[in-house]
């Protein structure tokens, strides 16, 4: 089983003291539909995420899970329905979009670090230019988060000199430097070697322990079991099933979910 080797949750007990879900709504998606040309990628998505929730979105490739979370910070445009992030309704207004983006951190499959800037500059760029924080203060914040993801010694190197796992941890630190209230993870470990997956998952678990609101598109079922408070299964652009991880993995209700789980966990 692939997950057995990469599941850091087995090696440490998770501190759940701060992992509390509040009643405050962080993200509300209502009747959202999206088309690529005539292709209906997302169909009638309704999803409410409360503050402090840790949601794992899974599903076969092409099921629209990445598109879903990319709609939340407007990297993709939706054509119907509404998305409300932190009480702000996502509209076409650029100011509004930039505001939501600066509150929502995003981690990509391919890291998307800026190769022409050093690690430290990658982390301080947005705080300095978007938040207008003085450089010195931004650098202190950046070092704080780089220490948190355990690579402060790489601060002056360039992304091209780091391993994949290190780059992904920098990407997480870069997002955190904006002090986001919500973090989106778009398959953060899919481009990594097994040895590096662990260090990235460790960082994500640490984040969850601190009470961050997270939506993760991932195939790390071990992570979903241990950290998520809700697992969402998508297929063909729709939410097919969502449940608490225990129930989701042990007693899936839809046939499609059963098939999917048997295929990724079955051997």
């Amino acid at each position: 089983m692939a997950e057995a080797t990469t599941n850091p949750a087995e090696e440490r007990t998770i501190d759940r003291s701060q992992m509390t879900v509040s009643d405050e709504v962080a993200i509300a998606i209502r009747g959202m539909n999206k088309w690529y040309g005539t292709f209906h990628v997302l169909r009638d998505i309704n999803l409410t995420v409360n503050r402090g929730e840790r949601i794992v979105v899974c599903g076969p490739s092409g099921s629209g899970k990445s598109t879903l979370i990319r709609c939340i910070n407007a990297l993709e445009e939706h054509q119907q329905g509404s998305i409300t992030v932190d009480g702000t309704l996502l509209s076409n207004d650029l100011k509004n979009i930039d505001k939501i983006r600066s509150e929502v951190g995003m981690v990509f499959q391919h890291f998307n670090l800026f190769p022409h800037l050093s690690i430290l500059e990658n982390c301080t760029l947005a705080p300095i230019w978007v938040r207008k924080i003085p450089r010195k203060e931004a650098e202190e914040t950046a070092m704080y988060f780089l220490e948190k993801v355990k690579i402060p010694e790489q601060a002056l190197k360039y992304p091209g000199q780091l391993s994949g796992g290190q780059q992904q941890r920098v990407a997480i630190a870069r997002s955190l430097c904006m002090r986001p209230r919500i973090m989106l993870f778009d398959e953060p470990t899919s481009a990594l070697d097994p040895e590096m997956i662990k260090e990235v998952l460790d960082t994500m678990i640490q984040l969850a322990e601190e009470g961050m609101t997270m939506i993760c598109v991932t195939h790390e079922m071990g992570f979903a079991r241990q950290v998520a408070n809700r697992v969402i299964f998508m297929d063909q652009g729709q939410v097919v099933e969502q449940n608490e991880p225990e129930a989701f993995f042990n007693a899936p209700r839809s046939d499609r979910t059963k098939l999917f789980l048997s295929q990724i966990l079955g051997h």
Binding site: R101, H116, V130, M178
Partner: protein
């Protein structure tokens, strides 16, 4: 697991130390054997090539190095040659350069004012140094900001220095408006005011202000007409202005061509395709002849200025396509990474996208610069005295009628030195901007 025999089982107990790569079997002889005499056929080619090189050098070196430098005309050159060497010996007559170098450099610019273009060139050197090299103190950038106005005043003169100073001051206004106007006008108002205020200033305030300052402190130099400009000075003025205006314009056009905004997008495409699709020489004729029909009668729109505008627009169209190539080469993730952090369009372009796209485009950009610089020789066709035009003028005099090679070799050499320097600088820049494996 007993099926694996003992001979296959293996455990590494120590890590092998790093070793230097094997020494290349160096040596001159080895190089010669491998590159010049690796087979009979190659050996024959080597000897033939050696002979060709010898033949060329034996003819050219004598011509170049025994050349005559001190004659006053081509006939005198021939007399000196017959007196010093054999009659009819093949030697160059470099005297045309010593006799006419000032014309080749400055055209018909009045000799007593030669210090002005020379000083302007020095100012340009000081202005460009901090842009080209990191080691130059950043404070020099103030020279860079002042240089265009100062150089313009030095070259053309006319009026006091306060004219260009007053015009230059107008460029500070948008920043002042942005700094202090936010509360008064609101964010959209600031953008509008930042455009309107300087225009009003230039129209109504700059003139009287320069006049008043000029009355107090009259620092004045005589005016020199564009018609008197010529030679390499002209080539440099057109080339340098074109280079520095075409890059930002080309970048804007490239961004416009990528833009989602319909009008901007279509305008950029139209501009690029039309300008690029017509030969430069046609545009130059348009600038020199046709524009007069469209301008109100009596307006005197300087020909050189028209040429500079045309050359700039022409180079900008090429530049736009070069930069677009760089933009297209960036992975989408860079755009998304910048977007996801909440950077607005201009921030993400300035901080993330353009630094990378321009770095990728450096060879193409410098290629366009070099082409633009060499294309300045085309202005000879519309009657401006660039170096080629002057060489024609020099050969038209009785003194130097019949001289070709020496002039063209000199002009070619000067262009080569400039273009080769640009090429070398671009290679230096690419090395400096490398970010991997350091």
């Amino acid at each position: 697991m007993t099926s694996i025999s003992a001979s296959h089982a293996f455990v590494r107990t120590e890590i092998l130390p790093e070793q230097a790569p094997p020494m290349a079997q160096a040596g001159v002889l080895k190089w010669l054997r491998e590159n010049l005499f690796s087979s009979w056929f190659n050996a024959i080619l080597t000897f033939i090539s050696l002979y060709v090189i010898y033949w060329i050098l034996s003819h050219v070196t004598g011509w170049v190095f025994f050349g005559i430098w001190d004659a006053g005309s081509l006939n005198e050159c021939r007399e000196f040659r017959d007196a010093r060497y054999d009659e009819g010996a093949r030697v160059a007559c470099w005297s045309v350069l010593t006799d006419r170098w000032h014309q080749l450099m400055f055209g018909f610019y009045p000799p007593e004012h030669y210090w002005r273009p020379i000083l302007a060139f020095a100012v340009f050197g000081g202005a460009i140094a901090p842009v080209l090299f990191d080691a130059v103190p950043r404070r020099m950038l103030y020279v860079t900001a002042a240089a265009p106005f100062l150089c313009y005043w030095l070259l053309w003169g006319g009026g006091t220095i306060w004219g260009p100073v007053a015009v230059a001051a107008g460029f500070a206004l948008p920043f002042l408006v942005a700094r202090f106007g936010e509360g008064v006008f609101g964010s959209l108002g600031v953008t509008v005011m930042a455009i309107i205020v300087p225009i009003l200033y230039w129209l109504f305030l700059a003139g009287p202000m320069a006049g008043a300052l000029g009355a107090v402190l009259p620092i004045r130099i005589t005016s020199i007409e564009s018609n008197d400009f010529g030679g390499f000075m002209l080539a440099f003025i057109i080339g340098i202005t074109g280079i520095f205006l075409s890059l930002p314009l080309g970048i804007l056009l490239a961004l416009g061509r990528q833009s989602d905004l319909f009008i901007i997008n279509k305008f950029s495409i139209l501009f690029i395709e039309v300008i690029r699709g017509v030969p430069l020489i046609v545009w130059l004729f348009t600038a020199s002849i046709l524009l007069n029909y469209f301008l109100p009668p009596g307006t005197n729109f300087d020909l050189m200025l028209r040429v500079i505008i045309m050359v700039t627009l022409f180079a900008a169209a090429y530049m736009a396509e070069v930069v677009r190539g760089g933009l297209a080469a960036l992975p989408r993730g860079q755009y998304e990474g910048a977007d996801s952090l909440g950077l607005d369009y201009w921030q993400s372009m300035r901080l993330i996208i353009l630094p990378q796209a321009l770095k990728i485009s450096i060879p193409g950009i410098v290629n366009t610069f070099i082409a633009l610089f060499k294309d300045t020789t085309l202005v000879v066709f519309i009657g401006l005295f660039d170096p080629i035009g002057l060489s024609n003028a020099i050969r038209a005099t009785t003194d130097w009628n019949g001289i070709y090679w020496e002039l063209f070799i000199f002009i070619g050499l000067c262009f080569f030195v400039c273009c080769f320097s640009m090429s070398k600088y671009s290679q230096y820049l690419e090395r400096k901007l490398r970010r991997d494996h350091r």
